[in-house]
């Protein structure tokens, strides 16, 4: 079959500045809402909300839910749901806590704080999470039990497996290296953060440049040069600004003193050091990038979205949708375990109630971030932004002094309102 004619590429009539920049209007709406929220809280709290300290705390509090929310996007896109993520996190956390406080020090006889403890613990945790996720996926895909039921069962089972494993005790303190994965216990310091920020900026600009070159190579329409430059500036500004803010949060003097004492040094008078990028945030960024690449640039991602859009079409196209379900839930399980590392490291121990209600926060973050429960639509960055918005609301209200019951009432109302706005938006733009 010879192919002679080719379809001409017509330049589209660009109407407004957003279309010229080829930005997602939905994303802009979310960022706008987030900015308004931050400025609002900042005014009410007399400038206490937008301090480096609070932004730092907000970031490390968001990480655990955001990691799981990115996996929940895949689950919801394929028209499933996972109600067990908080419980699964607890089981993974319990397994890792027992590994590093019982198995490695006593059974292997390596003692506490051995250099390989954290590797064994994290490895065991990730394998546990992935296997449990795969088991859920197998029951959903091959035994065709609805995901709602499988994970509702899992919610009860794994929460109590965690309890059984630890006899309901709080396990701690955890391994000192392991604790670096959570919040303030493990940060890069200012210089390393700046270097990483600059590397990230260069990489981001390269990605933009390559995308443009790929389009030009096939004679597809490209954005005007000024739009590319604006995008580049915004991206660089965002990355470096974020690093600058985290670097600006100084380690409290007494904590710094203790750090020097631990090393046997004496702290020089008047020394200040910034925290810089927390390792947990780096993990989240890595997860976000990998998951976005999987969603957009791999066959797996393509099949996940195709199955969500039309399961029959996917099946008839030769996609093994059962195995796909197993893969999606395995990814979810893996991310729950990764979240468990971050969450337990941040708390410096495993407590029996770790991850309680996380399933609802995770689902809410994905949904606020634009993942449609009817399947087929959702973005990783949306879910992460959703998690950030939820966490900001919660901690902002706590800062303002809103009573605890009202905090949850507001978060619940915001969830419903966000989905309603999304429905109205989708109707307006005519998308399904």
């Amino acid at each position: 079959m010879t192919v002679t004619t080719s379809q001409p590429v017509t330049p589209q009539n660009k109407r407004n500045i957003f279309q010229q920049l080829e930005l997602d209007v939905r994303l802009l709406g979310m960022i706008g809402a987030f900015i308004i929220l931050c400025i609002g809280f900042n005014l009410v709290t007399d400038g206490r909300f937008l301090t480096p300290r609070n932004i730092f705390n907000l970031t490390i509090q968001t990480v655990s839910v955001a990691i799981m929310a990115s996996g929940m996007v895949f689950v919801i896109v394929t028209r499933h749901i996972d109600l067990s993520v908080g419980a699964l996190l607890a089981t993974c956390s319990a397994v890792m806590a027992m590994t590093q406080t019982e198995f490695v020090p006593h059974v292997l006889g390596l003692g506490l704080n051995h250099p390989i403890t954290w590797i064994v613990a994290v490895g065991v945790g990730l394998v546990t999470g992935t296997l449990i996720g795969a088991f859920h996926g197998w029951m959903i895909g091959y035994l065709t039990i609805p995901a709602f039921i499988v994970t509702l069962g899992g919610f009860l089972v794994w929460r109590n497996v965690a309890w059984y494993l630890t006899d309901g005790q709080t396990i701690g303190p955890l391994d000192s290296t392991f604790m670096m994965f959570g919040g303030t216990n493990g940060t890069l310091g200012t210089s390393l953060s700046w270097i990483l920020g600059l590397v990230a900026t260069v990489l981001a600009l390269l990605v933009l440049w390559n995308a443009r070159r790929a389009k030009l190579a096939h004679d597809f329409p490209v954005k005007p040069v000024w739009a590319e430059v604006v995008m580049g500036l915004v991206v660089s500004g965002a990355i470096l600004g974020f690093v600058a803010v985290l670097n600006a949060y100084d380690i409290p003097t007494r904590r710094l003193q203790r750090m020097f004492e631990a090393r046997g040094d004496v702290m020089p008078e008047g020394l200040t050091m910034g925290y810089g990028l927390p390792i947990s945030v780096l993990i989240l960024i890595a997860v976000a990038i990998v998951m976005t690449v999987v969603a957009r640039r791999t066959r797996l991602g393509r099949y996940i979205f195709a199955t969500g859009g039309n399961p029959d079409a996917a099946e008839l196209s030769g996609i093994n949708t059962r195995l796909l379900t197993v893969k999606v839930f395995s990814i979810m399980g893996f991310l729950c375990a990764l979240s468990a590392v971050v969450a337990s490291a941040r708390l410096a121990n495993h407590s029996n109630d770790i991850g309680t209600l996380d399933e609802l926060r995770v689902i809410a973050a994905a949904v606020i971030g634009g993942t449609a429960l009817s399947g087929g639509f959702g973005t990783i960055y949306g879910a992460i932004l959703g998690a950030l918005i939820m966490q900001s609301l919660q901690s902002g209200m706590a800062m303002v002094g809103v009573d605890a019951p009202f905090q949850n009432i507001v978060v619940g109302a915001v969830l419903v309102a966000a989905v309603f706005i999304d429905i109205v938006y989708r109707k307006r733009v005519g998308a399904k």
Binding site: V3, T5, A313, G376, A431, K432
Partner: protein
């Protein structure tokens, strides 16, 4: 080039032979010992009422359903088709009545669904797929413009051209069309008719499922009529009239019997 009719007269091996196929759904025989065959460059129409079993029969060939008994031979060799991937590996492509497209993906993603072009690093190559998609759509439907929108934004005819492009692009030898013109306007129907002639000329065998007797009279070389899961008969289109076909569909009688 020998015509399909001459091939049949010579007793040539058909490219597809479905022999004695039966399919049951919980005690109901949806297809009851039906045999049909197809030669290169031939269009065989499958006719019958709703529920006559024609879609079920053809889904056995495309791998969507499993047969309970019977045999499928491709160019004389017995083959096992247990899923859509098996069918594709025998160059059998299907255009479904329900337009099996993922509404949330764009035309190129649908065209290559399950067979994506990947780069050397194993990532999907969207730019290359869009370029290929533009090429084939330029041939099938030159008015097609919406390459970067989800197919839910397309008209019935545009969606149909994506579905047809998918079958044509991957060098189908055997094409199954399940009511390809059901959702289309007159102009688009004409477009599909021209395309069928074009594919015939390339030696592709086509099973065409249709309700419309006139379309079958116009496009097909032979017609197999089914009623209540059984084959009423297979006739040469040249030998029959619209009314003969209709009486086969409605009364379940072959032309000779009807005249008697």
């Amino acid at each position: 080039m020998t015509t399909p009719k001459e091939l049949r007269a010579q007793g040539a091996t058909p490219m597809v032979a479905m022999d004695d196929i039966s399919v049951s759904f919980g005690g109901i025989k949806a297809v009851d010992r039906v045999s049909v065959d197809l030669h290169p460059g031939e269009v065989v129409g499958l006719l019958g009422h709703n529920g006559a079993g024609k879609s079920t029969l053809i889904k056995v060939l495309s791998g969507a359903y499993q047969m309970d008994s019977g045999e499928i031979r491709i160019n004389g060799d017995k083959v096992e088709i247990t899923n859509p991937r098996d069918a594709r590996s025998h160059n059998i492509e299907t255009i479904y009545q329900t337009l099996a497209l993922a509404d949330n993906l764009d035309a190129a993603s649908n065209l290559f669904l399950g067979r994506e072009i990947v780069t050397s690093t194993g990532l999907v190559n969207d730019a290359a797929m869009e370029a290929e998609c533009r090429k084939i759509m330029g041939r099938l439907n030159p008015n097609f413009r919406k390459f970067n929108e989800p197919v839910s934004a397309l008209s019935g005819g545009q969606r149909q051209s994506v579905a047809i492009a998918r079958a044509v692009y991957f060098n189908a030898r055997i094409l199954i069309m399940d009511e390809p013109t059901a959702a289309l306007g007159p102009h688009e129907t004409q477009m599909v008719a021209e395309l069928i002639q074009q594919l015939k000329a390339q030696g592709i065998g086509i099973f065409l499922i249709d309700h419309d007797v006139h379309a079958v009279m116009q496009l097909c070389d032979r017609a197999s009529v089914m009623k209540n899961g059984q084959l009423v008969g297979t006739v040469d289109i040249e030998d029959v009239t619209d009314d003969d076909l209709l009486s086969m569909i409605i009364l379940g009688k072959k032309p000779g019997e009807a005249a008697a």
